[in-house]
Amino acid sequence: MALSTHTTPSGFLLPSIHSAPPFFTHQPNQSTHAHLTEQWMRLILTYARHKRLFILRVEDAEVPGGDWDKILRNERINRQIPPSYLSSLMAALVVKNLAVYELAKQTHAVLLHWHLPEEWAGVLHSWATATGQLNTILTFYEISDPPIPSPLSCILIPLLRRAITILSRSNRAQIIGVADGEGVRFFVG
């Protein structure tokens, strides 16, 4: 088992464990399983951060060429993670609060927290401060798709809302209803 790391075209360094076929099998042994789950979660979150992916679906494992193709499948060893194993991994992520189910009462898609909502809140506030947008009303759209790329580009609205909710608890932000939806005003914290 001479395993080696592998770099994807997008510049992501895959760990050597990703080239081990047993990595893609649900291990009946509890301790082995727990260990591998840990490695998987780390891999998923690292990759999500690298690619700025927020949503992981069960189906992603079976879609060649998708966003998650590079880690959920390994063409070099002819292995892919079975959907059942992936959904158990997602459940583990949710338990560890590293993800939440995207919609309540379903388990086939998760919203990944490769930054915790608290971290997102800090990022959001520092971004607002850095760009001098304190005390101005910003729409969610302006935050998730700013003219100048920011750490918050492409952030999903539910995640953004949770971050703002955290900020508003410490009186650093306020949600304001505007004509075409919702807006937020940041205050100096």
């Binding site: 360094l13 895959l14 076929p21 649900h26 082995t32 891999l43």
Partner: protein
């Protein structure tokens, strides 16, 4: 004249045994024989050989066998006479023939072929094979029902009228009808043409073309039936008999002239054949033939007696079945009685063998150790008391050094008799104490598993686990009980014995229960630890192995390998790679099988992107 009337020509180039019927047997042969037809020499039959069978007499001409050979049924012979010969006249045997059984004056070959066909019984649908003698062929070999006439009738309309004459007599056959309808002898049955159909109600003879009786309008049976009725109402009489000239005694005589001797033995054989009357038991057909010439004269003992002697039909079958069942029952009873007697004797025999074996064991111990070693050194008889040994010691000291071989011989003889005492099953009544009983059983089981230490070379008692290190408990139990043969061990006792097994086995055999409930007995190399070590070793060498590869490597069954690997997996030493997570189909060719590799993940340190 007698020759013509009583014999049928055959092709003498065919060897006589080939001419015989299936139920016929050749009794004697003699060559250098001439034939007298009546009182005169028959010029064409002067040199040849005669053969007598149970049914027939054959004459085969020595120069011209194809033209001047004949056969004659022995049933024609009424009596015989022996003439010893005088000076130049050869010994002769005269055969006086029965005038009533003369053959018709036509060639018989056509009828023969018909007899030799196979035919299907109308009653039981059994297809009777050809080749039986004409008499035997008239009766179904399976159910004993006579062959029906209509089944075999292939004759013309004219003769079917005459045939009907005899259809009321079931044993008549086609051979009979052609004889009576033949143009040769003046047949009285010519009036059958003019006679009509007898009415079943009023016996009026109607014109054959009528369907109902002219007098009483009773529906008339069809032609065949009508014939039989007519036969009943007007049976043929003595006047039927064909020609008068056969009453001449000269025409009823054939003489065999023995020119080259051999007359006496041949005559004896011939007389015996005539006396045994092999054709008689089945002569129903000939009976009918005799009636073609003179039905009224046919002697009464030709009648139904053969039929009665031979049970036929369903009744006969039933009686056969009953008889065979009775015979089976009797045989079984006898056999059981014999068996009981044998068992009585067997006890003595076992006792004797036991004593003999004790002596042998004692003597071998004394000769090998030459001192009184502990009697327990031989596993077979720990119960040997010291007194026995000492008493035997004096006798065995005289035995020369060749003694062990003799002992071996005696033991192997005992073993061949099934009395090998070292293998004698231990039973509870042999040992009173239960704890000791279990110990003895464990000792015995150890012998079954590993073979006894004092093994007999000629005998194959290698033991179940001689070759294999791990065996299923069920197989051991079955094998043990098979080895015991008597006083079988119930599973509960078997399980009781298992914990004691390691004390009596070397290497110690232990039992192990897998997670699934499968129980096995195994030697130390198959303990969990050493098996794990071995598997890890394999995997370190080859990287990945399937279950079947491991099973092959370990020479155990796949099911067993599965269990053992699962136990290792539970330790987390190895991990699995399920082919179901392959991207393409069944993965790398093999069917969906789990591949095992060492579990290197526990020491894994993240080396990917941070």
């Amino acid at each position: 004249m007698a020759l013509r009337r009583y014999t049928a020509s055959i092709d003498g180039t065919i060897p006589v045994p080939a001419l015989l019927y299936d139920d016929e047997e050749l009794l004697a042969s003699q060559d250098g024989v001439g034939i007298y037809d009546g009182l005169q020499k028959a010029p064409d039959y002067q040199t040849g050989s005669v053969h007598v069978s149970t049914h027939r007499l054959f004459f085969v001409h020595s120069q011209n066998p194809s033209s001047y050979s004949f056969t004659m049924d022995l049933l024609h012979v009424t009596r015989t006479n022996y003439y010893a010969g005088l000076f130049k006249s050869s010994p002769k045997v005269s055969l006086f023939l029965d005038a009533d059984t003369a053959l018709p004056l036509i060639t018989i070959s056509g009828q023969r072929t018909e007899i030799f066909e196979s035919w299907e019984c109308e009653v039981c649908s059994h297809r009777n094979p050809p080749g039986l003698s004409p008499t035997a062929a008239r009766i179904c070999t399976l159910c004993g029902v006579p062959r029906s006439v209509s089944a075999g009738s292939t004759v013309s309309d004219a003769s079917s009228q005459t045939q009907s004459l005899f259809s009321s007599i079931p044993e008549s056959s086609t051979t009979s009808l052609s004889s009576s309808s033949s143009p040769g002898p003046p047949s009285p049955s010519t009036n059958s043409e003019s006679d009509g159909i007898g009415c079943p109600a009023c016996t009026f003879l109607n014109h054959p073309s009528l369907r109902v009786c002219e007098i009483c309008t009773t529906p008339l049976p069809n032609v065949e039936h009508a014939g039989s009725l007519r036969a009943k109402s007007a049976p043929p009489t003595r006047a039927v008999s064909p020609v008068g000239d056969n009453t001449d005694p000269a025409n009823l005589l054939i003489k065999l002239s023995f020119r080259k001797g051999g007359d006496k033995p041949f005559y004896n054989v011939l007389r015996r054949a005539l006396r045994s009357q092999a054709w008689e038991g089945k002569r129903i057909g000939h009976n009918a033939r005799s009636r073609t010439s003179s039905l009224a004269v046919a002697s009464p003992n030709y009648g139904p007696t053969p039929v009665a002697m031979r049970p036929s039909g369903i009744d006969g079958i039933m009686r056969n079945v009953e008889a065979s069942a009775h015979i089976t029952q009797t045989d079984l009873n006898d056999a059981l009685k014999d068996l009981e007697g044998l068992m009585m004797k067997a006890k003595d025999l076992v006792h004797l063998a036991g004593e003999l074996n004790e002596k042998l064991t004692a003597s071998s111990t004394t000769t090998t150790t030459s001192t009184l070693a502990s009697p327990l050194s031989t596993t077979s008889f720990p119960s040997n008391s010291g007194t026995q040994l000492t008493s035997l010691f004096s006798t065995t000291t005289l035995v020369p050094s060749t003694e062990p071989e003799e002992a071996k011989f005696i033991r192997s003889s005992l073993a061949q008799l099934g009395l090998q005492m070292s293998n004698a099953p231990v039973t509870l009544d042999m040992i009173r104490d239960e704890r000791r009983w279990v110990d003895e059983l464990a000792r015995e089981l150890a012998r079954v598993l590993q073979g006894s230490p004092d093994d007999i070379p000629g005998q194959k008692s290698a033991g179940i686990m001689k070759e294999r290190g791990i065996v299923g408990l069920d197989e051991v139990w079955g094998g043990w009980n098979r080895a015991r043969g008597v006083a079988l061990i119930p599973p509960s006792t078997f399980l009781q014995v298992l914990p004691h097994l390691p004390a009596y086995t070397s290497p110690p055999i232990r039992s192990r229960v897998f997670k699934s409930g499968l129980s096995v007995l195994h030697v130390p190399p198959y303990t969990h630890a050493s098996f794990t070590a071995r598997i890890v070793g394999y995997l370190a060498m080859s990287g990945v192995m399937t279950t079947s590869q491991i099973a092959h490597e370990e020479n155990i069954t796949i099911g067993l390998a599965d269990e053992m690997i699962a136990a290792i997996e539970a330790d987390g030493v190895i991990c699995r790679d399920d082919e179901r997570s392959a991207i393409k189909g069944g993965g790398s060719g093999s069917a969906s099988e789990v591949r095992w590799s060492r579990n290197l993940f526990l020491e894994y340190i993240w080396d990917g992107q941070l």
